[in-house]
């Protein structure tokens, strides 16, 4: 934060009416010189309340998933306020709609930081929206808590990654398949960054572990025609399908899969983007006994989860399922609260410094913040879809897995 | 007398098996004022469509030394062949002056095109004068009366400086005085250009035609001066011998359904 550009700002009024390009050369920081604006987060913490930003898609194609996360965030804020707030201050949630559009996410992130002066922001779902807002949070040195499992390979000082990184979801899922003797895989995914990165990891893992990847197909996001891909899968003779499809495509894929005569018994599908909410919209008719990989299920045992599910259903309706991203969103607010209280301040630098080692008895089990990577230790859980639409755990990693977003601890991943 | 002649040999146009023009031969000399007459469906408008490149045709159509068949519409127009339509077709959103200025400008270079029109080009002023539209020049063409639109169309052909004018029922719907004035105008124009008129109005034809071709069922039935044609028994049979067909004078402009030559119809059909 240098005063260099601030002193020059006075120039602006004078030059603004003059030809812009000429003026450009007269002032402004050059790239490379570390003068990131001098306008870090200017959160206002003087009053009896502090604002927190909730940045989710409330409209557009992603609203389906993100509204549930938004609900979980609001629930956590409400609970925290009821229990006295954070450092004696009540939280005032400010919701902004990312509208399923990445540039809009960037715009809204800026609005939250600059206009609403929030102390921290919670939200984003897709990798693309996270990538879009990342420079904004870095520019203004403000914090984002990201609640969704993602493709790893990222470590921004201003983002806390509360969802699983690849070694807490993809790698354990592969370990599980290997253990079951399902070594010939077919990879089906939506065409975006998470499936492509996940599949890269899967292929490297397979190579090192004597497994075989027989085919790899991507469908454009929102694609609903899967007959050809299903034919390819069927003809491949694979033991199992590793499914990284997203959203609507899953519905079409599983309907096709079933009518092609493929079942969980013949060729199980392990999905990493199907949680309880999605099971409901696809239908157990098509999904029964198929596998999923997450860190949390509605059925995960423990008092913390019982409380969470009860509170959520009391707030949003008895039949409403809870899912992994919702749980991660919910605990992200509590984790932030714990960091602030440990730091004794809302100051971003102090909060970050206090983060390491924060432990929470979460609905998904014990989670611990890893200060170095700003990820959390999470337990990997493989689940099976039951006839009631709920997912029950069939295997877990036994203990929380240390986050390793760049897979540095895995020798087979060195070439990635 | 100047201009070039139109030579048509064995012209054929078929639509899905229906032959609209069936081996027509025509020779129109420079400076002629030729009338094409014939009952409905005789192929008059289709013949003009073929000459101006609107429909595909077999045979040969030569204007001077140039073969016209197979050329795109705008290339034929640039050779100096202009036409009007049964339904007067002008640019309704533009003013009379703008209509004429556009008609005058097919050969303009890019720099002229990109500049605003300053003043009134001389040919445009002359055409305004000739067609009597000078006072209406800043009015939108869409609000002109029917007859005025047809005059505007003729004016557009004048500024276009065409050598051959093909007019499709230019006096339909005009009052007697207007017909006379139009006829005089055509006569004057034909001093320097070749004019072909499709017409149903026999009085009008008798007054102004220099030569006449009668079309029937896609073929030339008779050709010659007004008197010769009128004396031809085959022509009388075609016009009078069919009970269903009323006396042509009595049914000038209510030509029913087929022959939708107007571009508006073409556009609508294509867009449908």
């Amino acid at each position: 934060m240098s005063g260099l550009s601030i002193s020059r700002r006075g120039l602006l009024a004078g030059v603004s009416a003059i030809g812009a390009s000429a003026a450009l050369s007269a002032c402004g920081a050059k790239t490379g010189s570390d003068t990131s604006s001098g306008s870090g987060a200017t959160a206002d913490t003087s009053g009896s309340t502090v604002k927190v930003g909730l940045l989710n898609s409330l409209s557009g194609t992603m609203a389906i998933s993100e509204v549930t996360v938004h609900n979980a965030l609001l629930l956590a804020v409400k609970e925290i306020n009821a229990a006295g707030g954070v450092l004696g201050k009540k939280l005032k949630p400010i919701s902004q709609d990312g509208a399923s559009d990445w540039p809009t996410f960037a715009e809204k992130a800026e609005a939250l930081i600059k206009n609403d002066e929030v102390v921290a922001t919670f939200g984003c779902w897709t990798s693309a929206s996270r990538k879009a807002v990342k420079p904004v949070f870095e520019r203004y040195k403000s914090l984002l808590f990201y609640p969704v499992q993602y493709e790893g390979l990222e470590q921004s000082p201003y983002i806390f990654y509360i969802g699983a990184t690849t070694n807490q979801q993809i790698v354990p899922a592969l370990d599980y398949l290997k253990k079951q003797g399902l070594t010939k895989l077919y990879l089906v995914g939506s065409d975006y960054v998470f499936p492509r990165t996940a599949n890269k990891i899967i292929k490297a893992y397979a190579k090192a572990n004597g497994m075989e990847v027989l085919g790899e197909d991507y469908a454009p996001l929102g694609s609903t025609e899967f007959s050809t891909i299903t034919n390819k899968v069927k003809d491949s003779g694979a033991d199992a399908v590793f499914n990284t499809l997203n959203g609507d495509s899953n519905v079409a894929f599983f309907k096709e899969y079933k009518s092609a005569g493929l079942t969980a018994k013949k060729m199980p599908v392990l999905s990493v983007s199907i949680a309880e909410e999605e099971v409901k919209s696809i239908g157990t008719q098509y999904l029964q006994d198929q596998l999923t990989a997450w860190n949390y299920y509605q059925t995960t045992p423990g008092a913390a989860n019982e409380t969470f599910v009860k509170a959520y259903q009391a707030a949003y309706g008895a039949g409403k399922p809870t899912s992994d991203p919702m749980e991660a969103a919910y605990i992200s607010v509590y984790l932030w609260k714990a960091m602030v209280e440990k730091a004794g301040s809302f100051d971003v630098a102090k909060v970050r410094a206090a983060a390491d080692g924060i432990v929470l008895d979460a609905p998904e089990g014990k989670v611990t913040v890893d200060g170095a990577t700003q990820h959390v230790y999470k337990t990997a859980r493989i689940g099976k879809v039951g006839s009631d639409g709920l997912i029950t755990e069939v295997w877990n990693s036994g203990k929380p897995v240390k986050p390793d977003p760049y897979l540095k601890g895995y020798s087979w991943a060195s070439g990635l | 007398m100047s201009g070039e002649g139109l030579t048509i040999r064995d012209l054929r146009v078929t639509f899905d098996g229906f032959t609209a023009v069936d081996g027509v031969n025509l020779d129109i000399q420079p400076g002629d004022l030729r009338f094409l007459i014939g009952p409905n469906g005789a192929g008059k408008t289709t013949l003009v469509d073929a000459v101006t490149g609107l429909v595909k045709a077999g045979g040969s159509v030569r204007f001077g030394d140039e073969e016209l068949l197979g050329r795109p519409v705008h290339r034929i127009a640039r050779l100096g062949i202009g036409r009007t339509f049964q339904t007067a077709t002008v640019f309704e959103q533009l003013t009379v002056l703008q209509n004429l200025d556009i008609a005058a400008g097919a050969g303009r270079g890019p720099m002229t095109m990109l500049r605003r029109r300053k003043g009134i080009p001389e040919p445009v002023a002359n055409a305004l004068q000739t067609t009597g539209l000078t006072d209406l020049r800043d009015r939108a063409a869409g609000v002109l009366a029917h007859g005025q639109k047809q005059w505007l169309e003729i004016g557009m052909l004048l500024v276009q400086d065409v050598k051959l004018l093909l007019l499709d029922e230019p006096v339909a719907g005009m009052s007697h005085e207007e017909r006379e004035a139009t006829g005089e105008l055509l006569r004057r124009i034909s001093a320097e250009r070749t004019v072909v008129v499709i017409e149903h109005d026999m009085d009008f034809m008798r007054s102004f035609a220099r030569s006449v071709s009668v079309l029937h069922a896609g073929k030339v039935l008779s050709e010659g001066t007004v008197a010769e044609v009128q004396a031809d028994p085959r022509v009388q049979e075609v016009y009078l011998g069919r009970a269903s067909e009323p006396e042509p004078e009595l049914a000038p402009e209510s030509e029913p359904q087929p022959e939708p030559s107007a571009p508006a119809a073409a556009t609508a059909a294509e867009e449908a």
Partner: protein, 295 residues
Amino acid sequence: MTVILNQSFTGISIGAVLLLIALGLTLTFGQMGVINMAHGEFIMAGAYTTYVLQKSISSAGVSLLVALPVAFLVAGAMGALLEWLLIRRLYTRPLDTLLVTWGVSLMLQQLARDVFGAPNVQTHAPDLLTGNISLGGGITLANNRLFILGLALLCVLGLTLILRLTPLGRRVRAVVQNRDLAEVSGIATERVDRTTFFIGSGLAGVAGVALTLVGPIGPTMGTNYIVDAFLVVVVGGIGQLKGSVITAFVLGVLQSVLEYSTTVSVAKVAVLVAIVAFLQWRPQGLYTLRTRSLA
């Protein structure tokens, strides 16, 4: 060989879906020239009709069969309403119709979201339609696809009969070929327009019922199909049912063959390029009504 046969069937079944979603458009777009972007939402209405009916009729098979006519009526009524409220005012402005109905489509999507919720809903397919028929040698035909194929062909047959044989069909064709003449001949063109739109939109509803067997049911499901459906009619040629039928199956097979040998993205892009190239060759589509002055 097995691959080829299986892929051919896949292509035909993709074609059947395309045909079903485009069939209504051959009337509203092909015959009437209306670019109705809300057509996709009529498909959605058909799908939600199935969902609602299934809540009251527990048997999946019965509810599906009941849904077919009900969805036809529901979507048809929506279409007739749309025609009466908006489209009839816009017949001379086809491009503006596109944008206006896009607005309608946005509103209908939001309506579905408010009524049924933003997430997809599920319907239960009858067990009979979730299996497949094995012809031996690894060749299998999925029952739901066979059902859709049959339904599509049935709709084509029905539509052809209506257009060819009934007085209504004659009036529809008369209005398409020459509105003014039809009007002076004593045909109530406005009523014919509305009826045509009713049938076209109703067919979208039927397509929606069929799509519950293969795809997601949600507020935005219509947008997945709308451009493809229009392309089928554009390539097939205006006013000609057979053009759309052939096009749907050709595009379906093309898509499935390309998808099998390359990737879905490449196949999609390649099909679109092929369509643009085809329209270079035949700008009026595969079949077209030839009229004079219109080569």
